[in-house]
């Protein structure tokens, strides 16, 4: 089954919409869902043209497609556990929060907190992602714990903060402090990064581009070939400011 949601033109297009109801499973019972625009409650049909093609008996067979201006829509795919969502344009914040299964594809850019506290499933963002891509919530000790986030473009700052499990793969560059407070999982940055892995405790980060402002508290262990990436890298252990035992590999 395909559910196509095309955003309607709004009187106040800058108002954020919160749409955690947009997950495949919810469309099993129809399209009578509630979303929020600013401080007002709306029905899905007030904000979207809704087209449903085919039927489904199981949520894994449901594909949700978002079209139009979706850059202000937050929390799409929150707690999603199966099925798929395709966003043809840009998507707002918190896409794929707490996701545990299924796939989300974003053809445009994603705003901040993409895949926050994700546990499983896959997110593919073909454009750039904002700040705090694949991270956690304020005050919480664990960020993303499982699954995979792949970004074809760049990310903003604090990418994979508190990463505790799963894989984050950035094909472009990451901003300031990628992998800060990391305690597990794997972070791959094919482009450049500034001050990677500050205060990391555990986990692995591989950077194929240039590192700016490498922190002084990483202990160089060895230089070795990383066959998976076909590169030679300097391997650091850190962050020694924090008794950390993380691994940071930087192409040399």
């Amino acid at each position: 089954m395909r559910v196509i949601l095309e955003s309607k033109v709004r009187a106040k297009p800058n108002l954020p919409i919160e749409a955690e109801a947009i997950i495949p499973r919810n469309f099993l019972k129809g399209t009578d869902l509630v979303v929020y625009e600013g401080n007002k409650e709306r029905t899905l049909s007030e904000l979207f043209w809704i087209f449903v093609e085919g039927t489904a008996v199981a949520p894994e067979n449901i594909e949700v497609i978002l079209k139009g201006d979706t850059s202000r829509i937050k929390r799409v795919g929150e707690y999603m556990d199966t099925g798929s969502i395709v966003i043809e344009g840009d998507i707002g914040m918190h896409c794929g929060n707490f996701m545990s299964g299924g796939t989300i594809e974003i053809r445009g850019n994603a705003d901040s907190w993409l895949g926050r506290e994700m546990r499983g499933g896959t997110i593919l963002c073909r454009g750039n992602a904002g700040h705090y891509c694949a991270t956690g919530y304020r005050g919480e000790k664990k960020g993303m714990q499982g699954g995979k986030v792949e970004v074809s473009g760049n990310t903003g700052d604090f990418c994979a903060e508190y990463l505790a499990g799963g894989t984050v793969h950035i094909h472009g560059s990451a901003g300031d402090f990628p992998g800060v407070e990391m305690r597990g999982g794997e972070l791959i940055i094919e482009g450049d990064a500034t001050r990677p892995c500050g205060n990391m405790k555990s986990g692995t980060c591989v950077i194929l581009g240039t590192v700016h402002d490498m922190l002084p508290t990483f202990e160089k262990i060895e230089r070795r070939v990383l066959p998976a990436w076909k590169i030679t890298a300097d391997v650091y252990r850190g962050d020694v400011a924090n008794r950390g035992k993380g691994t940071l590999c930087v192409r040399c």
Partner: protein
């Protein structure tokens, strides 16, 4: 020349902060403090006007020499002049780059605007 814009509180700014329409406030909030060597390189003297440009906009300030300011930095009291050119990007933290905005600095003959004029430039109206 490329500089980093740094902002902070000062006593003169603080004592006139509730009188933003006053000349005193205009004087203290629109002073751009530079290292004397940078001023020499820019070919300006104490009191000459400088134009600071960033992607957010531009502003004219009165230059002042300050030994304590490091080379490559321009210090401006926290307030509407500095804010006229600071980006509102917060890096997801809520806090703009009040101390690390990169700016172009050049000498200018243009006048320093009043706070009221700055507010009118962004759609306001002086009382």
């Amino acid at each position: 020349m490329k500089f980093v814009l740094n902002t902070g509180r000062t006593v003169p700014q603080g004592t006139s902060v509730e009188h933003k329409g006053s000349d005193t406030y205009r004087t203290v909030a629109s002073a751009g403090f530079l290292n004397p060597i940078d001023m020499m390189l820019l070919g300006i003297e104490d009191g000459d006007r400088i134009r600071l440009t960033t992607p957010a906009g531009h502003i004219v300030l009165t230059s002042r020499p300050a030994e304590g300011v490091v080379r490559g930095e321009v210090f401006v009291a926290i307030g509407p002049y500095a804010n006229h050119i600071i980006s509102s990007e917060t890096h997801g933290t809520g806090m703009p780059d009040f101390k690390s905005q990169s700016v172009d600095v050049e000498p200018t003959g243009e006048p320093v605007k009043s706070v009221g004029e700055l507010m009118e430039a962004i759609g306001g109206l002086r009382f």
